[in-house]
Symmetry: C3
Subunit: 267 residues, 3 copies
Amino acid sequence: MREPRIITLLSDFGLKDVYVGVMKGIIATINPDAHLIDLTHQINPQDIVGGRFSLMNAYPHFPKSTVHLAVVDPGVGSKRRGVAIQVAGGYLVGPDNGLFSGILSFFPPLIAVSLTNKQYWYKENPSYTFHGRDIFAAVAAHLSQGIPIQILGDVIDPESLLRLSIPDLEINPEGIKGSIQYIDYFGNLITNIPQSALTSKNWTIKVGELIISPDETYSNVPLGELVAVVGSQGWVEIAVNGGSAQSKLGLGVGDSILMLRRTQRKT
Amino acid sequence: MREPRIITLLSDFGLKDVYVGVMKGIIATINPDAHLIDLTHQINPQDIVGGRFSLMNAYPHFPKSTVHLAVVDPGVGSKRRGVAIQVAGGYLVGPDNGLFSGILSFFPPLIAVSLTNKQYWYKENPSYTFHGRDIFAAVAAHLSQGIPIQILGDVIDPESLLRLSIPDLEINPEGIKGSIQYIDYFGNLITNIPQSALTSKNWTIKVGELIISPDETYSNVPLGELVAVVGSQGWVEIAVNGGSAQSKLGLGVGDSILMLRRTQRKT
Amino acid sequence: MREPRIITLLSDFGLKDVYVGVMKGIIATINPDAHLIDLTHQINPQDIVGGRFSLMNAYPHFPKSTVHLAVVDPGVGSKRRGVAIQVAGGYLVGPDNGLFSGILSFFPPLIAVSLTNKQYWYKENPSYTFHGRDIFAAVAAHLSQGIPIQILGDVIDPESLLRLSIPDLEINPEGIKGSIQYIDYFGNLITNIPQSALTSKNWTIKVGELIISPDETYSNVPLGELVAVVGSQGWVEIAVNGGSAQSKLGLGVGDSILMLRRTQRKT
């Protein structure tokens, strides 16, 4: 059976310039049968944490052997490595700066390679500012054609891959202290508290002095009201029915929130 | 002959998050040969009327048997139905909230199905907030592979599909009272007066005390000037050559306008 | 061997409306095997100079026989011609308004045709405002299927194609007077001074009273600092590490800059 030949693309390049289109031209030149799917190109400029979150959430929904090409690369032109990583069900290509560490926390790296074999680059003398074009796009295209990952360069210890340390959850008797890890397009505030941390349905979210009650879905509360839900990506999030929780609460990534366990009241 | 296997996507998800990419991953897993074409993901959040307008205008330009997947879904998680609809030349998949009623006013539904067969869902226990991923994307992918629509759930009376009532035109002896139904990226104000309502070339648009004269195209009037044209989608629209009619007039969706018939002057 | 069947799309249509999706529907109806790649649809409205720059930079990275469909078309509906142009390695389709003149300055036109053969249009009576849909998309699709370009209309003298005159560089003993020709999504100020004009590594950029030193890459200077680099597209550009040079300097397209040659100091 024909393998799927999907390459996803994620970057902070935006959609105004032709940078993304150029990467696609290079890929299509190498592998005309590649199926290109954009994850997003609107990661905030140089926001590795946001890129890490987005990749982690998208990864499980793609078929096996998909190649994920990701370029949020503030260190381009410096000594940071370019890498290709094989994980269960897919390949990752991009800078070794923590961008993939969300995926790697769920899917451990099987093989990791430093991209030193110039034969698979687009330009033997890459620019100092656009390795997405000069190295990563070409490498992803070659991988999507089924070449062995080891041929792309020096095999490295997967333990040496850079991991981003995300603020840990602080578990207290009364609840969990967490923080906001991502704010989506709708202004939903996505926390770092996973669904699995909710041991019962008796919980609330405390933000400053405000207590926000949980519900199953936005539309169960009146328009304009705050609600805490377990979002579609499996994290506790704060939302406003028909509005933006970000605008309403004025919170940002990294701000603290509390999940309070409610004790059963005996009446 | 090979059938076209196009799936179009329309939503209010924006392009910042990976929501759209995830839907594409699910589709490509089910049908690797699907050809995915984005209509837009920048429908204003929860703006069913804008989504309805955009779908209606895009629909006629796609090949037969295209599947149109549309998710503007403020009622997600509530009791609103998910539906698949067969119309002449295509299939529609999404929430039953009026989003498709523009298409249906031109292309009557042939078969309508409530999406109750979980075998064709992505998740048997869908999230409360993202049926685009958990139900609609998978259903669209299966339809694009040629499965019969009836297998997707309970066949329902097409008359029961929710229709949005758009403000009707009010036809007077002196002209037609209409309103603005959409404002495009360029700031063109698109009215709900169709080209077919223009019985002669002798007409003007009245907005407040302002009279706007018609012309065949923007560039026939000086830069910065207002002009009324029959737009490419077949509606009377108000435009500014090289500028934005929205900014110039400060009007919004729903605001009233008048089309005045000019009587032939005898001199 | 199968020819690549890529059609790139560039426009100022934005992504809010379905205009781009509609062009893709028409292309897919004519040639279901076309591989569609967006360059950008966020050229500033009617900015032919920005479109020209973007096309010129993207063009070299696409495989031979790619069809480049570009629609930035302030003169739509007027007498300006629609054209198809064959160049080494590709085809260009769009309005004859200078949009292609950047590509043509590097890749001279081999054959140019005025699009007068209505048989290859989408609508025999095109709208006055959307030739992208009614003429250009269909023509690009037919070209991607391998029809001879001459069949599309009247062969015209390639010398008659409209060229945009970009402000020339002014070369003085002390350096080169140039200007900013494009500002990208990151706020990098891209000048019209090509890498080939740098005869040594001893140069600086002067903007007003400010002297900006060159470096190989953004990340070699402290966060927030200005730096001049040779950008990935081969032009001298002014950047800020981790920030926007546009915001920092308040400059726009067309503003003057000086490249100063530094004489070797003898100490």
